[in-house]
Symmetry: C2
Subunit: 401 residues, 2 copies
């Protein structure tokens, strides 16, 4: 039987995630790696979570080992509503759905909102998982440039109008406004308001993906308030996650959407997995109850700040002429644009083989299928400051050759 | 903003799960409930799982709290391959994907195989979660009758041919061959072979959903070998699950499919949630390693066998003339066809209000939108034998009125 003849058009549309396909190269042991955009396992509160898991299963096994409601653990939903009001977002439980990581949120929301052929604006560059979810739902993705302070409302407006002149309406804009993956760029507060106005004028949804918002380095300068905090008409779908502030293996994240859309997302999730891991959700809720998260997040900010500083200092000291890079004020990533003519995809093999250094080539993060391949995503989350300095120096030596 | 105008056709197609919508009625405290098709929490090995969770997080936190590969925990995949070979299925790791419960498997497989408008044959009655996943992918569902020993290959053949005469080709058949949810019916070994032949002749996929296969009551008479065990050309997609033999809250299940289809399922899962709960998967793998599962399953068989017996005895003693019911040899469900004229949906409110007894009306399990509403699904998993006897007696009193 020829199975490829039996696949759905959805299955034919699927593309592998370009980063995960590089894992054989970038996951070698001993490597200095700037590749994986994952939190450092050193930051996981393993002792506390071990205790919590033990007690939850022992004392509430009939609940945490059983099926649960699709919307998610009710206590956790209320805890997150409380947390969000501290970030200037008034959210009701009926606007919230817990998901198995934000990736599930992106998939469900794409399925519920996107009709195949719909136009969706996406940052250049953008997060590959978000691109995949939108693409799989059949979206036609249109790239939009970013400045140092994020998307440019005026250039988005011209883009929307020129698409409209060709009879094409934009359905949604997908943005990661804080310490973006992969670029590290943050959208300024002023531009957030302008973007929302633009979205209202052209009747566009904003998909606001915010896994890094709490990871700002200067405790005096928190991330600007989310676009969602300005939204009064349910135009913004907000994605929050515990993956970067607690532990990604406990697949727990949330969506906030207009109640009517939330109801559809719930129905889609019901058929997608009935409910998320009950133990994971209960663990996260208990971490909240014990007030573990706030203190922990302050430590994380200091932890990643030092690593980012080490990377920026090393780039300052060793980067070749003609290279440019972002100076993130939070998150996990620096984005390096090397000199013209550099081919990052080829460079990766040499960096791995000759220098024992791994990174992710930037091209797969662009939806405009560009030829240029001179960008690199450098995650500073995994390595110690010392190894970051060594790795960047080696990488720069290679870039200079 | 009018959000309903912005929904995708997928979102408009979504239907709520009829059983989960009854939960306000059937989840009242104190009720004798035959409603929820869920394992009894008394059977959860909470002490053992609490210990396992504690040690896993403490000793392997960097792994179980981190992101993992989309295919799933490699040790667990190999353990399941070993288990399946004991059930006459030779399975290679590249044919397997771990999923967040079988519901995720049903959703992913439906998306990968079903093109909107494709015909899929579904048992009358069938599992609502399977029906929802297929429906959401756009399948047109065609009901097929079952006999006491399951689907009738000859009548399926006539159905396929009459559809073909109308220019319609059948893409797949969805079946739960062992102790079916909701009917309790088991497909005979002989018919399994005939069904597979039929599928080969008409080039149809078989989606074999097998969550209950291990829950046979007579240890001398295991369930017949799965259809998958006869499959030599990758025509059967097999769904296995730990929900009924260990604990459903640990959302861990698996799919076996032809390697090419498995690759597509993996790509779809990558964009659907990146990976399943790492802690849940590691817990299940550790239960395997400690040989907990086999001994436990023997206990479960005895446990549910006693409850099924209590329900069948009570029906024998009290059922009104004209009522018929199945005599399952395993699983969690008895299916009751009451006298003509009974309206089970109305009966439910009265049973709950007057008798404190809950069940699930059978009609939502049928894809043929029948008018008759005289069937009931009676789960014997949740209540003690004494309460089962009391509940059935009360229900039968009501049926006789």
């Amino acid at each position: 039987m020829k199975n490829q003849d039996h696949l759905s058009s959805f299955a034919r549309r699927l593309r592998p995630n370009a980063i995960r396909r590089l894992s054989h190269l970038i996951n070698r042991p001993g490597m200095i790696t700037f590749a994986g955009g994952v939190p450092s396992p050193e930051t996981f509160p393993t002792e506390e979570i071990a205790e919590i898991a033990f007690r939850l299963v022992r004392e509430r096994g009939a609940e945490v080992l059983q099926y649960g409601v699709t919307r998610g653990n009710r206590n956790l939903i209320e805890q997150i509503c409380g947390y969000m009001s501290g970030r200037s977002m008034k959210v009701l439980p009926e606007e919230m759905i817990l998901t198995s990581g934000s990736q599930q949120g992106l998939d469900l929301v794409s399925r519920v909102l996107i009709e195949p052929g719909d136009l969706v604006l996406v940052e250049l560059p953008s997060y590959i998982g978000g691109i995949c979810a939108l693409h799989n739902a059949g979206a036609e993705l249109v790239g939009v440039q970013m400045a140092e302070d994020g998307l440019e409302p005026s250039s988005i407006q011209s883009q929307i109008e020129s698409l409209a002149a060709g009879g094409r309406r934009v359905k949604a804009l997908y943005t990661i406004p804080n310490f973006q993956n992969p670029s590290g760029i943050t959208l300024s507060a002023k531009k957030r308001a302008a973007l929302l106005e633009l979205a209202a004028r052209y009747d566009i949804f904003i998909l606001e993906d915010d896994p890094y918002g709490e990871l700002y380095f200067d405790s005096e300068q928190p991330s600007p308030a989310p676009i969602k905090s300005l939204d009064e008409e349910g135009r913004v779908v907000y994605f929050g996650s515990f993956s970067k502030v607690l532990a990604p293996g406990l697949r727990t994240a949330w969506i906030v959407a207009d109640p009517e859309i939330a109801t559809r997302i719930e129905m889609a999730k019901e058929a997608a997995d009935l409910c998320s891991s009950m133990l994971d959700q209960a663990i996260v809720s208990e971490c909240y109850r014990q007030n573990m998260l706030q203190g922990r997040i302050a430590q994380l900010r200091a932890f990643y700040s030092v690593r980012c500083r080490a990377m920026l200092d090393a780039l300052e000291a060793h980067a070749p002429a003609g290279a440019h890079w972002t100076r993130p004020t939070g998150g996990l990533f620096v984005w390096l644009e090397a000199q013209a003519g550099i081919a990052a995809t080829e460079l990766l093999s040499r960096a791995v083989e000759q220098e024992g250094v791994a990174f992710v080539p930037g091209r797969p993060f662009f939806v405009d299928e560009r030829k240029e391949d001179n960008t690199l995503r450098l995650a500073f989350s995994k390595e110690t400051p010392e190894r970051i300095a060594t790795g960047i120096e080696r990488l720069c030596t290679l870039l200079k050759k």
